[in-house]
Amino acid sequence: MERPLTKNIRPDGKPLFIKEYESLGGYQSVKKALKMQPKEITELVKKSNLKGRGGAGFNTGLKWSFVPMEGQFEHKYLVANGDEMEPGTFKDRLLIEGDPHQLIEGMIVTACAIQADEGYIFIRGEYTEAAEIVKKALAEAYEAGYLGKNILKSGFNFNLHLHTSVGRYICGEETALLNSLEGKRANPRAKPPFPQVSGLFGQPTIVNNIETLCNIPHIINNGAEWFNGLSLTPGDGGTKIFGASGKVKRPGLWELPFGVTLRELLEEHAGGMRDGLKFKGCLPGGASTDFLVEQHLDIRMDYASVAAAGSRLGTGTMIVLDDKTCPVGMVLNLEHFFAQESCGFCTPCREGLPWTEKILQKIENGKGEMKDLDLLQFHTKFMGPGNTFCALAPGAMAPLQSALKYFREDFELHIKEHKCSWK
């Protein structure tokens, strides 16, 4: 089985720098891309069926194709989204720290496709080691002539900068990220206009997830057909970095084809549950995805199958709930996070999330009433898709609404027994 994204990553995770990276075939795709027409690159990526790995799963080539290719612009920008603050998600850290040049290479090729002249790698402030590694890798790439003016004497210019952030989950939302890069509060922007047309400083801009960008060199080198062939699911090209955390025997990350089953992930790769514990459910793709439970273990991990089961593939890193951890406590922890991270811009989210947290706290403390469950249910509608300015609040409702569906008895038990029986 081929693992293009992680094949160069050392078992100890120590970074690969430019000499080794080049000796393993690194930067070949830049040489190729510089000789291609921008539209050719975009078309190839579109055909590869690479879908955005930041959570929304939008076709990457299609997204690039919305960038205007005619007309004069002061700049066009490319931004790598390395905010990675979705609880339970730790895949981009591995790619940045383990193989920083793969990301830089993917960004140069992407810049060729959209004809961007300026780029940013946006990394959350807590990733201090990743930032140091990227800084060094950027300097190496400039030194070797892959970045800056007249790249490899092609006449193409691309400057790439590192931006380290200063907290807040909402910075990961692409339009909020752009405001943050402009030095402002990270409130999301109204769409349209979409960033592809009017993004950073009003110029055409593409924001892509780190993992998305890391796929690009391999698509250029090996073609769309090869990339589609990596996946078990027609229509979802490539591999995915899946992961698991919680009380499984071997928490971690694995690069696998789309279409592996949830059971394979859980039992073969994560080694099953720790001794004495039973699987109760999981959030398959980070904190803002709906719970899947035992009846879903045989579903395939691809965008359509996970959606058909009522959840989202999200970031592909699952959080596993065991039978000895209180599900109400877990949901309370999640809603505390979302309430705290609401940017405060729109009322339903700013007011509704703290309210939700309070009700859950009340239930967890044994002070809940049955009518609180109806109130929680009401909130899941009120903050559902279409009722808030960005996707943070609907994301927050995903684990809550599915917990109310699958773990209702556990909520009721707290209310009936006036306590949390897991404590």
Binding site: P87, T128, E182, A244, S245, G252, L283, F337
Partner: protein, 154 residues
Amino acid sequence: MLTAEEIHEIQEEFHLYPYKQAACIEALKVVQNHRRWVSDENVKDLAALLEMSVEEIDSVATFYNLIYRQPVGKYVILLCDSVSCYIMGFEAVLAHLEKSLGIKYGETTKDGRFTMLPVPCLGTCDHAPAMMVGKDLFRDLTPEKIDEILNKYE
């Protein structure tokens, strides 16, 4: 008053942006790097330097949780309180930290060494529970490991 060094570092950022107000977050980071936190006076001085209102600067400074608008200790402890760390028992680690340091979230030890704050998911959930001390990451925490870690910081 901002030092000449701080002003120089902030001005270095200006050429990366189309206008200097866009360097607001970078400017706050520069001040914090030098002083550990950003005071009211610093905000006023930054407003003058960036030609922005004090309120504008402060609205940015108070938005971001890693910009500190109150004094902090020499090392800030960021303890992950998100979901995987919850499942893996960060609460026991928190209880131990509170006991060892004699402080709660948001407080600073009397000797000024540590300030403790909660932080969302540190992106190392397969090694939960996790925390940062200054720029260093610590993973697979247990109450037993805490004192050994804290002793490394003078």
